[in-house]
Amino acid sequence: MKKLIALIALLFLTTTAFAQITGSAHDFSSESWNSSGEICITCHTPHDAMTGYEPLWNHEVTASTFTLYSSSTLDATLGQPDGPSKLCLSCHDGTVALDNFGGTTTGTSFITGDALIGTDLSNDHPVSFTYDASLATTDGGLNDPTTTSSGLGGMIDADMLYSNKMQCASCHDVHNGAGIDNLLVKSNASSALCLTCHNK
């Protein structure tokens, strides 16, 4: 029992300790294009948020039409990015300036490097598709999200899906809650994140 408690403590320490947005890749408080010096403001505002977007959205939203992933072995029905994914892409597709927040539309700083996903999503893991028990059955290589544990406390559908859809946020925690490289929601050691859904 002591060993077990120690194991639990270790797991909590390694996965939750010191995880925060401050100092993470999404901490833009020191960026030249963010004169406010605030962290949250680039995405959120407590008042006068943009209508039609959650949560309290404060950044210009992309109007791009995206090239979607396609594969002969894909059973999911993919649509244009929606929900939280569209918000991520409002910086990561490279069409909207990073500094187009708080009503500004004349920003000049754009995302670069590995973080630039672009509007061609065909070489990226698909997002914005319904991932339910039916898809898992049809595909044969996916776990049932309604009965499979996410490893985050509950089932996949509750912990990782948004309106039953797989989104960027299924894998990534934009606020760095887990403190893992690439802002992953959980460690991908032993491909544990991939294998949460993929049953290979």
Partner: protein, 562 residues
């Protein structure tokens, strides 16, 4: 507090259990190249499993989120005279497999990492061995070709792809590595998508004519443990279970064309037909002094060759179709199961496939082919084309194609009658009782089944003309009476003349002989018989009557009549 700890413990254990379950399939296979992999080829420290092939972002090719470079090499493709498929350079899923399995790209070289993932024992690219296909794919089952109804129709021995079982998938209509292999799952060995016992996977596509009746499908024979293991890569123990792979190898085949296990044609057969698997030992027949010597030729046989063989050779596959061969017997002249599904030449000299009659198979080489064996006897009428020798319009012939001309052959031993038809293999076959049927080999020249002495001056015995005496009663042939006594007994026993001196056992072509001089298979051996006064002939004078004009043993026949 205690309850709370227990609660978390239960959750964490269930999570851990669930994760291990999720990873069970791939993680327990050698495609788990991570540090936790079960194989000898694995990373020194990388824990991720998927990363060796997949990346969630910036993949290439895009689907299926591939994480390795295209090898960018030109592959040597499979090529076969009997393949109807348009085989192109590997594409689709196959090129992904080859990004490790062609041995050109380091296993740890992935797009998502700037430095290669390190591997144990200094392994970089795929080590030499079964898994390394190399860039020479000519010895591997073809891939990246369109498999559609047209191909199935043109080939004639492929199932229509609409009838494929669900476990075989085509990618955009093409057969790819992934049609047979599931890289994520290794339930059946070699990552096959289905158990290949009885070659079920092969036969999902390949529909070989008459395979269902083939002995190679139905035989439960096993290896007796002597000599070479016929199935070194297989756990299956019977011919039926190994089926296609008794002869063929889908990868790294020793002989590329038709993907055979051995580079020499006959070795593919003899590895079993040497008494170690098959009940009959063909090998010991083939090494006899007179044989259809398959060892003397190499890579000359081609299943698509013309009916009449133009380049002299003989291989097991010339006379046997391993996909159709069976032990169904037949009555002369019909072809038996042993030669089911082989090509030949008809009585009129045209190619037939398959043969209907046994002699059609023999005519493939012994009729119109150049370089065919010549007669061992120097005769008055020379003819080496046995098709012409056995023609039913001839003045006389042994009854191979149809019953003979002579309707009064008193010497015939029951069950033979004047209306009997015999096989070529009734005379040409193994000299041993109980040996495998057919003309594989014999201690007697011309691969004869029994002794047959051609040499003039040999004392007659039951052994001297043992071959003839199988059908023709020795006592009647050499008996008393006007014909037997004066003609056969006098010549064969008293003067020690061989049957072969006066008789041409195959027959005399109507294009050379006639029904006056060449009835009763008369065609003299010129090494014994010579003309007298320019005349060398037998004249048929009716039933059991004839006259001879010739000189033999210094004696003049001018004529001698009976």
């Amino acid at each position: 507090m205690v309850k709370s700890k227990l609660f978390y413990a239960v959750i964490i254990i269930s999570i851990a259990f669930n994760l291990s379950l999720n990873g069970q399939n791939l993680s327990s296979t050698v495609h788990n190249l991570s540090v936790s992999g079960p194989g000898s080829i694995k990373a020194t420290s990388e824990t991720e499993l998927c990363v060796f092939c997949h990346t969630p972002h910036n993949s290439s090719p895009r689907a299926p989120l591939w994480n390795k470079s295209d090898p960018g090499v030109s592959y040597t493709l499979y090529n076969s005279s009997t393949s109807e498929a348009a085989i192109g350079q590997p594409d689709g899923a196959s090129i992904l497999c080859l990004s490790c399995h062609d041995g050109t790209i380091a296993l740890g070289s992935v797009l998502s990492k700037t430095t290669d993932i390190g591997f144990n024992s200094g392994v970089t690219t795929m080590p030499a061995g079964e898994s390394n296909l190399s860039t020479d794919l000519s010895d591997d089952h073809p891939i990246s070709f369109i498999y559609n109804s047209t191909l199935a129709f043109n080939d004639g021995q492929l199932n229509d792809p609409s009838a494929l079982p669900q476990y075989i998938t085509l990618e955009n209509g093409k057969l790819q590595c992934t049609s047979c292999h599931d890289p994520h799952k290794n339930d059946f060995g070699n990552f096959l998508v289905e158990d290949n016992q009885f070659s079920a996977l092969c036969l999902a596509c390949h529909d070989k004519t008459n395979w269902d009746i083939s002995s190679h499908k139905t035989s439960n024979a096993t290896w007796n443990g002597s000599g070479v293991d016929p199935w070194p890569k297989s756990d299956y123990t019977t011919v039926a279970e190994n089926a296609c792979e008794s002869c063929h190898a889908p990868h790294n085949a020793a002989h590329s064309q038709r993907l055979l296990n051995y580079s020499k044609d006959e070795d593919n057969c003899i590895v079993c037909h040497n008494g170690n698997v098959a009940s009959k030992d063909i090998q010991s027949e083939l090494v006899k002094p007179y044989s259809h010597d398959v060892y003397s030729y190499d890579q000359l046989h081609d299943p698509s060759e013309s009916g009449t063989i133009t380049t002299k050779h003989v291989e097991c596959q010339d006379c046997h179709n391993p996909h159709q061969v069976n032990n169904i017997t037949a009555s002369a002249p019909a072809a038996s199961g042993y030669i089911e599904g082989v090509s030949g030449v008809s009585t009129t000299g045209t190619a037939v496939n398959p043969v209907q009659y046994q002699y059609e198979l023999c005519y493939k080489c012994h009729a119109d082919s150049p370089d065919k064996p010549s007669s061992p006897t120097y005769r008055q009428i020379e003819q080496n084309n046995v098709r012409l020798e056995f023609d039913v319009n001839n003045p006389s012939y042994h009854p191979i194609e149809a019953a003979g001309v002579n309707q009064n052959v008193r010497s015939l031993i029951s069950p033979y009658t004047e209306s009997s038809i015999i096989f070529c293999t009734d005379c040409h076959a193994s000299n041993e009782t109980g040996a495998p049927k057919g003309p594989h080999g014999s201690i007697y020249p011309q691969i004869l089944k029994y002794n047959y002495v051609r040499v003039d001056g040999t004392s007659e015995s039951s052994q001297t003309y043992e071959l003839c005496y199988q059908c023709h009663d020795r006592n009647i042939v050499n008996g008393a009476g006007r014909f037997a006594g004066r003609i056969h007994r006098r010549h064969i026993i008293v003067d020690k003349v061989s049957c072969n001196t006066c008789h041409d056992p195959h027959g005399i072509s109507s294009s050379q002989g006639n029904s006056t001089n060449n009835t009763h298979l008369i065609n003299f051996d010129l090494s014994v018989v010579s003309p007298y006064n320019g005349r060398l002939e037998f004249v048929d004078q009716g039933s059991y009557r004839g006259s001879c004009y010739l000189k033999c043993h210094g004696k003049t026949h001018n004529p001698k009549s009976y």
